[in-house]
């Protein structure tokens, strides 16, 4: 991120995936929306040997011999999505997800690169774990995967990991995600060490002394249900603290999964302060970035309430009755007002990107009383459709902004964002915006089924995904036109 801070070694390639045959195909007449490339029009796109070879007016390009033709008429082509926040659960929790199923889920959601979190068992806190994980990804991952290593050993918040060695072994950056770095002095040392090893520090912001035993947002709904609440300030006060430490050390931090109005304000203030201090707006704004999840953008704590007078068992598939553990996430779903602030933050650039925080859990882990259930929802397969259905269709957010925010996480992790441009590797997804589907009806690509949107009818279906030059996903119902 910062050219003044070279890595100790040459570093490894940032992303790994299994080898796949490169694509030769013509995408005919799709409406291409790529805000970064300045495209918003129908085009033919020719992919040759995995690279974008030609862009032309609809109907102007011919498929070379042996190339497939994908019919794009009435469909949209986007630069592929990049998710900087995914739990692949490998190593150690393969009953929840594995590299194959997690990357298959990602590909089916239009993602062309994802970044996996290190809160696994064992934790990715030393180079041997990271190396073997990357080896496994070279065999199994269907799309390019990057890995963050932990900031502290065993996520215990006590001692720094060998960050320089981890960086050399291929860590894109560092995070203790799932937990905050509770001790300010440890975070400060990590930020100092960042000058040596580079890489972003991605921060899960939560003051455990405030969140306590909380299981949902503190507000009217938690009061009604008698559930312990997690106050908004447990997030925002830690953001303010960490932004101050990062500002002092001149470090680079990325705030994960914003959920509260106060948190958006804390990030906005930190960005403004940075601009004041350095005078270089671009550089200063790059020092603190933030992400928001599709579920925090589209749902509120009220979804956890039982529908009035609904009797258990009467509700259809996917809920209707209350306390659905799929809605138990950390940070929690908050109020309408918080949701509005997140949308404003995304519009005005305070929030840089959308990240799913895809957090798969096994069925038996979630089939327990709400307070007992682990936190997290899956998100890769529903991310685009949920945001499109709930925010773009009703006119809350423009399509171009959503497409841009769905891959903006790449640059934040030090990766090249996908672009539909000649000479660039094919990293794109073909989407039918008119197609409706019911979440969960046909099962999931993920091993897990704890999706907070289960049972909802969403619009927008990914028909095909190309990542790193290869066709990595095709919808079952998507028939190929003859060449």
């Amino acid at each position: 991120m910062n050219p003044a801070r070279p890595r100790v070694g040459q570093g490894a390639e940032p992303l790994v995936q299994r080898e796949q045959p490169v694509a030769d195909l013509l995408l005919r007449g799709a409406h291409v929306v790529d805000p970064r490339a300045g495209i918003d029009a129908r085009h033919d796109v020719l992919v040759r040997a995995g690279m974008v070879a030609e862009l032309g007016d609809p109907g102007s390009l011919e498929a070379p011999d042996g190339a497939e033709v994908l019919e794009g008429e009435g469909r949209h082509l986007f630069p592929g999505f990049v998710d900087p926040h995914v739990h692949l659960r490998v190593p150690g929790q393969e009953h929840k997800e594995d590299l194959d199923s997690g990357t298959r889920a990602a590909a089916s959601g239009g993602f062309v690169a994802i970044v996996a979190m290190p809160n696994t068992d064992p934790v990715v806190d030393d180079a041997t774990v990271l190396r073997s994980l990357r080896e496994a990804a070279r065999r199994e991952a269907r799309i390019p995967v990057g890995f963050l290593a932990s900031i502290t050993r065993g996520l215990a918040g006590e001692a720094l990991t060998p960050m320089a060695e981890l960086s050399d072994a291929g860590a894109l950056g560092f995070t203790d995600d799932g937990r905050p770095v509770h001790r300010a002095a440890i975070l400060r040392k990590a930020l100092q060490y960042q000058r040596l090893c580079g890489g972003v520090l991605a921060l899960h912001e939560e003051d455990p002394s405030l969140s306590g035993a909380g299981v949902m947002h503190e507000g009217e709904v938690s009061a009604r249900l008698g559930l312990a609440g997690i106050p908004s300030i447990s997030e925002s006060t830690m953001i303010a603290r960490d932004a101050a430490i990062a500002g002092y050390e001149g470090g680079r931090i990325h705030i994960q999964h914003l959920s509260a109005r106060e948190s958006v304000a804390a990030v906005a203030e930190a960005k403004a302060r940075g601009v004041e201090r350095s005078g270089d707006e671009r550089e200063a704004r790059g020092r603190i970035s933030a992400e928001v999840s599709p579920h925090h953008l589209t749902l509120t704590h009220e979804a956890i309430l039982r529908a009035p007078n609904a009797q258990a068992g009467e509700a259809g598939r996917g809920g209707g009755s209350g306390l659905d553990t799929r809605l138990k996430v950390n940070p929690p779903l908050r109020s309408h007002d918080d949701r509005r602030a997140l949308l404003d933050g995304l519009r005005d650039g305070t929030i840089d990107c959308i990240a799913t925080d895809h957090a798969p859990h096994a069925r038996e882990e979630k089939e327990v009383p709400f307070e007992e259930a682990p936190m997290g929802t899956t998100g890769l397969e529903t991310c685009f459709a949920a945001v499109y259905t709930e925010l773009v269709v009703p006119g809350v957010l423009p399509l171009g902004l959503v497409v841009e925010k769905l891959s903006a996480g790449a640059a934040l992790m030090g990766l090249t964002p996908p672009r539909i441009a000649i000479g660039r590797p094919a990293a794109m997804c073909l989407v039918d915006l008119a197609s409706e589907w019911q979440v969960g009806e046909a099962g999931y690509e993920s091993r897990a089924e704890n999706c907070c949107f289960a049972g909802r009818t969403l619009r927008g279906r990914v028909l095909a995904t190309l990542a790193a030059g290869a066709v990595v996903y095709r919808d079952r119902a998507f028939a190929l036109a003859p060449a």
Binding site: G219, A223, R224, R306, P308, Q311, G322, E364, E367
Partner: protein, 311 residues
Amino acid sequence: MRHLLSIEDLDRPGIERILDRAKSFTEVSEREVKKVPALRGRRVLNLFYEASTRTRSSFELAAKTLSAEVINFVSSGSSVEKGESLKDTVQTLSAYRPDLIVVRTPHVGAAELVARWSAAAVVNAGDGKHEHPTQALLDVYTLRERLGALDGLNIWIVGDVMHSRVARSNILAFTMLGARVTVCGPPTLIPRGMEALGCAIRYTLDELDEADVVYALRMQKERMTESFVPSLREYAALYQIDGRRLGARQVLMHPGPVNRGVELVAEVIDSPQAMIGQQVAAGVVVRMAVLYELLAGSSGRAGIQSRLVTA
């Protein structure tokens, strides 16, 4: 109504129907043979994951008075201690074909899960800090017996509102029947957003004399160690209901068990204003009425018929 999981499963006529039926059952307790055959041959399963004296015994007595068979399942000594999940326990016990399950657990929403996982009717006898609807019904019954209607009554609920399922069910039931509810306690024990339940909030007892009914909640000693209150002494100084604070025209209630000397003192517990004994007595007839409503009431009967048809 197929289950009683929350007071919100009922409306005002529904509550009044249950109270009227409870009233009609009082006559049974005065008979020499305290039994009627209303639920003969039906099975009631008491599934208790938490200690309980009056709730469990009054459900058992209610079921037996109506001639139902009662099976008691308590979590200690059961396979729960071997790590059996709630779902597996419920599905296992459902193989005994209970017609109704009375469930108490420390977890919010667990009664609703039991209803989802079993074909039986389910009565929530307390799910964490969420609800305890039969307690609210017996409290409403007790008040109606003493004061007639609840319309226009001022009811103060005093104490640890945050950790009280009784407070939540009672606020809903009292307001549904036309009373105005004020909750009062230390700000640390009144959750943010509580006013959304339709109650007023006070942090001192200064205006307690406006109350027609004073409903004191149990103050658990462990709240002290979690810094919700600095000491029980300070709590008692500010919120204890004693002879000076309780007026002669006011009625005093408490869900039990009482911490004598903490939320209440002996002089008010034993005063004519106190209705604590009546509340316990009402527990049996009100729970009889709830069991009857679910197993032999109009919707209950329809449920049986539909089960016969599908069988």
